[in-house]
């Protein structure tokens, strides 16, 4: 795992009246323990990776408390884990990245929501929407509505978030319904404080085991004919119970304001941005005292019609601030108001943009439009236009002064990443056979869609690359290529892709990047991660080399054409790719591109080297460099590599005007530069330096000989 959570684990042990200082998602983790959960699970992914990581690392501490922790292999498995709460009075929580994780979990969620739960069930959704998001922009809200799951969207400060986690379990139990809590990216990562409570041991847990399983109750199976009854309960008694609980415990908040003619209804998660906007417009002070009344929905589904009607009762107009599309909340509020015959005018997406993040600037503009229309005595005095103009001028002036657009800087393969050499080999392959249809996947390897590689014709989801070109193969002269990571392979790819292709006897080339971990989300382990002994034995070598779980699985399901190639052998990789595209063998061809994630490898190597150096043992460090005298500045090496440390610098040669190649000190000596110089016949400018610390007798003898016979060159 990429990050150590030793300190954070201590924070999970804080008790009554202590002060927690830390990240939002870890506050949620603490709140789960304060709620007396029996089990926790999930699948990693920004922005909720830390919840899973800290729980997995804290497994021993959790066991002391009786809490079972499972790192699930995908979100469907995490959602299904909540099945424990259907029949037992056990509270459980799972977490994943949404929308993508919720999509994967959808089947289990439907089957969970239908019978409902006995013990509180909470799903923490890292709502990956807006700036910093890495997924398609959709709303989790739709799942809440279609499966009848309650959806929390708390104000993004730690006390509120923690309180809402605790209330969620109560709400879940009061209404027999699983609850989801959506936390936007910045809320997951927000640094704040809250006053903690003691952790609560669960009534049913690893420490309080039940002697007997639950009795067979057909009513609790998501199976006909009881599913018809479930549907009525979901929209009937469970919904009523939830609304009652929400109202009784005041989960939603009303902040009064002097301008009673209008009101704002806002998703809790947007509250801080709304306050910023009101403050900017001079309609609220810094402490959050607003001139305009605000109704904050910490629970965005279900809505409580009575609360809404009461809030709207004395108002000429209400504005709904709802991020994302379609505007589910606004539509429902419209229905509520209309059915009740309310006179209040409803505004929302008519004054605010339909799509995109609701930052304070956006909200301020919308507020301006709303108030001018419905509260002109205030709206006409607003300076929102002045602010919008100011920002426009700033942007225009910056663009003008900068002269050229700022170059993009998307994420990239890390220095020494073993996936980079594969893509260089693929580039070389395509120089020989021309472009092939490339189905991309989710994971670090998706960085190959950016410069300098620019690979990919489609991305259809995690582990879906092979499945996504099933039909492409039928109308392409050249075999299509699918690339997926080992993360994607185990998440989904083996079943959706490999077995389906084998069942249908289809042609195609699949490359599996075997780097040993789900690296993009923080190097969590998968079933084929090299075990501790293997890692120890590998020392500085790639620990995935001796790990064959993926190959065994492929052979097991019947893959006949299977090669494993170390990614740093660029020429061999190119030849293997050429073979896969040209061989007369007509079935599925799988190349396992093996090379351990550099983040994990470096983490292992650093202490080994430090220890060896300290003990005076011989240590060889490698790094690469470029002779700027012979570099002509055409940068073809960079178009093949894209390594962050292979960069440019101004030429020292006064005659050269173009910058020359240069390897900076971040070089970890992975060897790709040299491999490419050979495989692509690039250029003779690359050199490798082996730096021998604590040289032995043989080294010293050799060095002496070199000095003697070559003069200075022996160094």
């Amino acid at each position: 795992m990429e990050v150590s959570f030793a300190k954070e684990i201590q924070k999970l042990k804080l008790g009554d009246g202590d002060k927690f200082e830390g990240e939002g998602i870890l506050a949620v983790t603490k709140a789960l323990l304060q709620s007396g959960v029996t089990y926790v699970g999930g699948y990693q992914g920004s922005p909720i990776s830390h919840l899973i990581d800290v729980m997995v690392q804290a497994a021993p501490e959790m066991a002391d408390l009786g809490v079972y922790v499972e790192a699930c292999t995908n979100e469907a498995s995490a959602a299904a884990m909540l099945g424990a709460s259907v029949m037992y009075p056990a509270r459980g929580a799972v977490a994943w990245k949404s929308i993508v994780g919720t999509n994967v979990a959808a089947d289990a969620l439907s089957n969970l929501a239908s019978p409902g739960v006995m013990g509180g069930a909470l799903i923490v959704l890292g709502e990956d929407y807006g700036e910093g998001s890495s997924v398609i922009q959709e709303r989790s809200h739709a799942y809440a509505m279609k499966s009848t799951l309650w959806l929390m969207d708390p104000r993004p400060n730690l006390p509120t978030i923690v309180n809402m986690v605790e209330r969620s379990f109560e709400l879940s139990e009061a209404s027999n319904t699983p609850v989801m809590m959506e936390l936007r990216i910045r809320a997951c990562h927000v640094q704040g404080t809250f006053e903690t409570k003691d952790n609560v041991a669960a009534k049913v847990s690893m420490k309080e085991v039940l002697a007997e399983p639950a009795p067979h109750e057909y009513e609790r199976l998501a199976h006909p004919p009881v599913t018809f009854g479930h549907e009525r309960k979901k929209s009937g008694e469970r919904m009523q119970a939830a609304r009652g609980f929400i109202a009784e415990h005041e989960l939603n908040e009303v902040f009064a304001g002097q301008q009673r003619d209008v009101g704002l209804i806002v998703q809790g998660g947007l509250y801080n941005s709304l306050m910023r906007a009101l403050n900017e417009l001079g309609l609220a002070d810094a402490e959050g005292n607003s001139d305009i009344p605000i109704y904050v929905l910490n629970v965005v589904y279900p809505l409580v019609p009575d609360e809404i009607l009461e809030f709207a009762s004395d108002k000429r107009a209400v504005l709904v601030l709802e991020e994302g599309q379609p505007e589910y909340i606004e539509q429902e509020i419209g229905t509520i108001l209309r059915r009740a015959g309310s006179d209040a005018v409803l505004a929302g997406k008519d004054v605010l943009p339909m799509a995109g993040e609701y930052k304070a600037e956006v909200i301020a503009e919308g507020l301006g439009r709303f108030l001018r229309r419905h509260l002109p005595q205030v709206g006409n005095r607003l300076e929102d236009a002045a602010y919008a103009d100011e920002v426009a001028v700033l942007k225009a002036q910056a663009a003008d002064l900068l002269k050229a657009p700022v170059p993009p800087r998307p994420p990239n393969f890390c220095t020494g990443c073993p996936e980079r050499p594969f893509f260089a080999a693929l580039k070389l392959t395509q120089q020989e056979i021309g472009p092939v249809h490339y189905s991309a996947d989710i994971g670090c390897h998706a960085f190959a869609t950016f410069a300098p590689f620019n690979f990919g014709n489609s991305i259809l989801g995690y582990g879906m690359s092979l499945a996504s070109n099933a039909s492409v193969a039928s109308f392409q002269e050249k075999r299509p290529l699918a690339v997926m990571g080992d993360g994607g392979f185990w998440h989904n790819g083996l079943l959706s892709g490999v077995t389906s292709r084998l069942l249908n006897g289809g042609d195609g080339v699949l490359v599996i990047m075997k780097n040993g971990y789900t690296s993009a989300t923080g190097t969590q382990e998968v079933i084929s991660s090299p075990d501790k002994d293997l890692r120890l034995a590998s020392a500085e070598k790639s620990a995935t080399h001796g790990e064959t779980t993926i190959e065994d699985a492929l052979k097991g399901v019947g893959v006949k054409w299977l090669r494993t190639v170390h990614t740093y052998k660029v020429s061999k990789m190119r030849d293997t790719l050429l073979d896969a595209f040209k061989t007369p063998f007509g079935g599925l061809k799988v190349i396992v591109a093996e090379g351990e994630c550099q983040l994990e490898r470096q983490r292992r190597i650093k202490p080994i080297r430090a220890k060896a150096l300290k003990n005076g043992e011989r240590v060889v460090r490698q790094r690469f460099g470029v002779d700027e005298d012979t570099c002509t500045g055409d940068h073809s090496c960079m178009r093949l590599s894209g390594c962050p440390t292979l960069t440019i610098k101004p030429a020292a040669d006064p005659l050269k005007t173009d910058p020359v190649a240069y390897v900076d000190n971040g070089c970890v000596g992975c060897g790709l530069c040299g491999e490419l110089a050979h495989a692509a016949t690039l250029c003779p400018s690359f050199w490798r330096a082996d730096i021998v610390s604590n040289p032995n007798l043989l080294d010293r003898l050799g060095n002496w000989a070199r000095r003697t016979f070559t003069g200075w060159a022996g160094a």
Binding site: L394, P407, P408, R409, P411, T630, D634, L682, I691
Partner: protein, 496 residues
């Protein structure tokens, strides 16, 4: 902005420790008695992508302030950035306002992929960024935070923190910030950056080292041209011998004689042409490469670059892959031609076409490279020498003609040899581009006495040749076709 919240935007690259810095700022604020909130959007950007962190600090007497999670354009009090183009990104997004914003920016560059893969010079203009920030920020501090960090054995997060702490925008003292840091190295970096910022605040401008004046020959020439002549002459002597140096000088002087030295456009054209002439005459063949790779100053540079310490031993390995072409290049023309003929028929040669590792500071490797370097003595009789010289002659001849007829065209033509660079495939592509431009633009233009617009066409072609390595753009310029629209999904509909 009616409150006294301090709003801090940190711009950094993933993996640089922006999160560490954010947590330091949060700790310092808390210790100073402030309520503080900070957040970030790391995600996959942690893999060297551009990312940002945002901190809001409530006034000490208003702990109940509602703090924002998202920076507001034009409403940021201080921007601290680890990299100059990231500063530009913040500026372009409208966060920097002359009314509120102090900008603390590193001058260090971490080049983006798009800047690196340009075939010529794709670097973003540093000067524009500095000028833009100086114009738009309330106060600005530029210093190389990366270098200060390196000099003090620490990371850029520490120097960013020091510079931020000292820039005057935080509502607590420099010492209160410093107290957060646990280890000596971070403190050293912090102190050095804080001091550097204080020097700037006290009004001392950043001092840049004056360019050292060189004693130059060719005293009568304008300075730029003189310098290029001087370096070019040195290069050719170093490359071959004194006679070759004189050959370069006589060629250059022929160009200089063709222009009026008071016409600065003409001087510029000839200066660039002389620069290209020198680089071209000192073309890289295996003898040249072997020679450059076995020089004492080169090994000294490597020792320096890898930071070789006392007691360590250095071994240097070269990655060479000589092909038949490279061998034929340096051998006498008659043998060279035969080798090339054999190579073109798929003939096999021992030792060639395979990747070789040569230990250039090892006994054998060093001798082998010196031996190869000695081939320079037969260079004048070699196949490539003859080809290059006749190409140079044709170019010079065309250039002289153009200098007389159409100065705009001459300016482009002087730059043309820039497309001939690299080794093996890259060089082949360069030569192809050069030949195409000569055949389709330069020679016809000469015949037609440079009709209007041809100079622009030449410039476009050179730019296109350096724009992509498939020559798609170059071919489009040469054939005069408009490039396809760059929306990949759209098919061009032709009217029938």
């Amino acid at each position: 902005m009616s409150d006294n919240v301090t709003r801090i935007l940190v711009a950094a690259l993933g993996g640089e420790g922006g999160g560490v810095l954010m947590n330091w700022v949060v700790s310092a604020a808390r210790r100073a008695g402030h309520v503080v909130q900070a957040t970030s959007v790391p995600g996959v950007a942690q893999r060297t992508g551009s990312t940002s962190y945002y901190v809001e600090v409530a006034p000490i007497d208003a702990p109940d302030t509602v703090l924002g999670l998202v920076p507001l354009a034009g409403r940021v009090d201080v921007v601290v950035s680890s990299e100059l183009v990231e500063t530009a990104r913040v500026l372009a997004a409208g966060y920097v306002s002359p009314r509120h914003t102090t900008v603390v920016s590193s001058t260090a560059r971490f080049f983006s992929t798009n800047e690196k893969i340009a075939m010529g010079d794709g670097r973003y203009s540093k000067e524009s960024v500095r000028h833009a920030v100086d114009t738009m920020a309330q106060a600005s501090f530029f210093l190389d935070l990366g270098k200060i960090a390196k000099d003090n054995g620490t990371f850029v997060s520490a120097t960013m923190f020091g510079a931020l702490a000292a820039c005057g925008a935080l509502p607590w003292s420099v010492q209160q910030s410093r107290d957060v840091l646990g280890d000596e190295r971070s403190r050293a970096g912090f102190d050095a950056a804080a001091r550097a910022v204080e020097v700037i605040r006290s009004g001392a401008a950043e001092v840049s080292a004056p360019e050292s004046a060189k004693v130059l020959a060719f005293a009568k020439l304008p300075s730029g041209l003189r310098e290029v002549m001087h370096h070019g002459a040195e290069r050719c002597e170093d490359y071959q011998d004194v006679a070759y140096r004189d050959f370069f000088i006589s060629r250059s002087e022929a160009l200089i004689a063709a222009i009026d030295l008071s016409d600065h456009r003409a001087v510029h054209a000839v200066t660039e042409a002389v620069r290209r002439l020198a680089l071209w005459m000192a073309y890289e063949d295996i003898a040249r490469v072997a020679d450059l790779k076995t020089r004492p100053e080169r090994f000294a540079r490597i020792r320096d670059e890898v930071k070789l310490e006392e007691g360590q031993i250095l071994r240097v390995t070269e990655y060479m892959k000589p092909r038949a072409e490279e061998i034929a290049d340096i051998l006498p023309a008659s043998i060279g031609k035969r080798i090339m003929a054999r190579a073109q028929h798929g003939g096999w040669f021992p030792f060639l076409g395979k990747g070789r590792f040569i230990r250039s500071n090892g006994l054998l490797g060093y001798r082998l490279l010196r031996l190869t370097a000695a081939l320079k003595h037969i260079r004048r009789r070699s196949l490539r020498y003859q080809e290059e010289q006749s190409a140079i002659e044709e170019w010079l001849d065309a250039l002289l003609f153009a200098l007389d007829q159409d100065l705009d065209f001459a300016m482009g033509l002087g730059e043309l040899p820039r497309v001939r660079k690299g080794y093996s495939d890259t060089l082949q592509r360069g030569l192809r581009a050069y030949d195409q431009i000569m055949a389709h633009i330069v020679r016809p233009a000469r015949g037609a006495k440079f009709h209007a617009g041809v100079a622009k066409r030449l410039r476009d072609a050179i730019g296109a040749a350096l724009a992509d390595d498939t020559h798609a753009k170059l071919d489009a310029v040469i054939t005069g076709t408009v490039p396809e629209p760059e929306i990949p999904m759209l098919k061009k509909v032709t009217n029938v």
